[in-house]
Assembly symmetry: C2
């Protein structure tokens, strides 16, 4: 429990989104004070509950995947079957009284359910209505499904990731998907700011496509202006030398010395006799003698430990970093020192997770709730929004919170 106010205190978010980007964006809104209601399909809930974990691992974690835990703290779970009118009716009643609605269904799905922007705007003109698409709401690929990997391929990111003599590889994390999360947070926050000044809500959206294009921004600009299409260069790039990974005696380090003064400091800090050579002095010469420079530097670095290289180059302000594995990165004390690690109890177990991706001094992020079970807060949310016990019983009979045994299923 944080005693400090949150920037979004009192803001209520109804979140229909699933998997990564959408849930991550509402987790951030929740970290900063919003009350987030996560709508989940009553039987299985969010698919991310089972992502990336074997059956044995799921059992060990209390039936929930690390990915779900990573993206769903600070939320109430409302189990709602949108496949029946009773469920959709409850959704509309709640949406009429929240500040933000978010979904990542295929284009047209929310409108088909009477939950489109026009439907909800009529009930709630102050509503900020956010949608996360694959390729967007219109255009030739609007109806195409996609995920992070699909956009790594489509966007050209894959074409510039990997070794020159091998086929492309993926960026190891779902960068495009998670980048879209901050696109959603930005759009929703700006819309709330605009609403605070004008009194009116609006529709905002982003997509895997726009997220990928933003990450590829300067490559597309270069192509449009100069016709350049870059290729794969391992850990190196076309801008400068050295600017890549080098072998150490006990691992790898990256070393970046783009200008001549930095190169000189780098050369002298590591091995002046081997590296401080006139033919390596100028950045253009280092580019044209790339293989020589890399070979000479590699010969020096491979005799030193990562720690030694980092200490020597850090001291002379040359950009250097150890190539960490996941565990070394997660446990590095710097992350905790800047508040990048949060921890909380869930069913008696201590959960560690990455904190918010930015900090606000006067209204800091905080963890107020662990990730929920499916439908854990259904009754609490319904009461909060003023549904009477009789109404709730009717909706329940109609299948709103999950199919009643023996009840007929509506055609979807």
């Amino acid at each position: 429990m944080s005693p400090r106010p949150g920037a979004l205190d009192g803001i209520r978010v109804l979140d229909f989104s699933r998997v990564f980007a959408g849930p991550d964006s509402t987790q951030i809104l929740g970290d900063f004070g919003a009350d987030v209601i996560k709508v989940e399909e009553p039987t299985r809930g969010d698919d991310a509950r089972y992502f990336g974990a074997t059956q044995d691992e799921l059992a060990a974690f209390g039936g929930i995947s690390p990915s779900f835990l990573a993206f769903n703290r600070n939320k109430l779970s409302l189990a709602l079957d949108l496949g029946c009118e009773a469920g959709r009716s409850v959704a509309r009643r709640i949406a009429a009284n929240v500040d933000v609605v978010l979904n990542n269904f295929r284009p047209g799905a929310m409108a088909k359910w009477g939950l489109g922007y026009d439907d909800l705007k009529a009930l709630n003109p102050r509503l900020v209505y956010a949608t996360f698409y694959a390729y967007g709401a219109e255009g030739p690929l609007a109806d195409f499904g996609a995920n992070d990997l699909a956009l790594q391929a489509h966007s050209g990111l894959m074409s510039i990731t990997g070794d020159a003599d091998r086929p492309p590889v993926r960026c190891g994390t779902a960068a495009i998907d998670l980048h879209a999360s901050l696109g959603l947070v930005s759009a929703i926050s700006l819309a709330l700011f605009h609403r605070e000044r004008t009194g009116v809500g609006q529709e905002v959206d982003t997509s895997l496509l726009l997220s990928s294009a933003h990450l590829m921004n300067y490559f597309y600009a270069d192509y449009w202006i100069s016709g350049n299409t870059h290729g794969r260069m391992g850990t190196a790039n076309h801008l400068s030398v050295p600017n890549q990974a080098f072998p150490a005696s006990d691992g790898m380090v990256i070393i970046i010395a783009p200008n001549d003064e930095m190169w000189l400091r780098c050369a002298r800090a590591l091995d002046a006799a081997a590296l401080d050579r006139p033919e390596f002095l100028h950045s253009s010469a280092r580019l044209s003698r790339r293989h020589e420079v890399v070979a000479a530097l590699s010969a020096v670095t491979s005799r030193l430990s990562c720690a030694e290289i980092v200490a020597r180059l850090g001291a002379v302000k040359v950009n250097v970093a150890k190539v960490n594995d996941i565990g070394e990165a997660a446990d590095h004390p710097q992350l905790a020192a800047v508040g990048g690690v949060v921890s909380y109890e869930r069913h008696g177990k201590r959960i560690k997770a990455v904190g918010s991706p930015f900090r606000m001094a006067a209204t800091p992020g905080s963890v107020r709730r662990p990730a929920p079970e499916i439908g854990e807060h259904t009754d609490e949310v319904l009461a909060q929004f003023g549904l009477s016990e009789a109404e709730i019983a009717d909706y329940r009979q109609g299948g709103a919170f999950g199919r009643i045994a023996g009840a007929p299923r509506e055609p979807s």
Copy 2:
């Protein structure tokens, strides 16, 4: 010129940041209506003006790099030498009257210049003061320099990017840096929202480190919960099969069919005889027979064109995408269809660039100005903030807008 209002109309941003993340974040604020004043060192300006372009290319583009063009539309450029007191004094006078200040100097630099949060807050309590750090303001690595590649190494992203039988490679684009841009937009927008409700500004920050940790979120969570540290798998991952790139007759496609129904649709759409086999039917079987499944599917896909595979699998709602190069991606009509491409005149040349990474229906982004020359708007900005001609002359004499020939240089 857009006739529509912007969400940030009337908001003034004083931007001391350089290179990618900071300038990109203020470009987005500018797209949505903010007046952005870019402070540039009078002689060379932002280093990004020369990034990634040869001398010949720079000459061909009017002395400015595609990267700079990509991140600096909708800005006024104010040439200011922060190395002298006259320059810093002008900076303080303007900062006293803006809504947002952004910088990405090393920790302590702004405070040393009398431009720290405490200095400016005293002049302007409503100020939102944003800083973009490398590793953050405190902790053991606070004084370490870094860039995108350094954080790809430090964060563990590099360790999971590449082929299993080769050393790590980089994610081809500066994903961590550009992701931080949206962290800044989010933090600034939330702080403006909070200010609108309470009347008070605050300090916000993010860092390459927090940005990287957010992108690696679910890997760290998995490690902290289960001890898993994943490795490199080319374009594949450990979650499901098929979920990677496959060869086509004229390129590569990615195919993702994580569940059994999708796999069956995929198998039947491509070649039922070769793929619809009982031993491939279950997701766990496909995981344990990964090499067999990939080989069988590759044999099928390599006889078909990319277009054919995309058409067949798209029709049965299996996630599929062509591995595009930069040009194919930038010019794909889908991006323009969703407003992802903007274009404007600059010195008589037409510039094409990636649009905003999210959309706001009532307050859409727009291009109101091309990327500026160094100091192009110095006089305009000074007049806007009420500096008299006599004051401007004094500041000029003091070197505020660039060193006067023959004048002594202050020690820095």
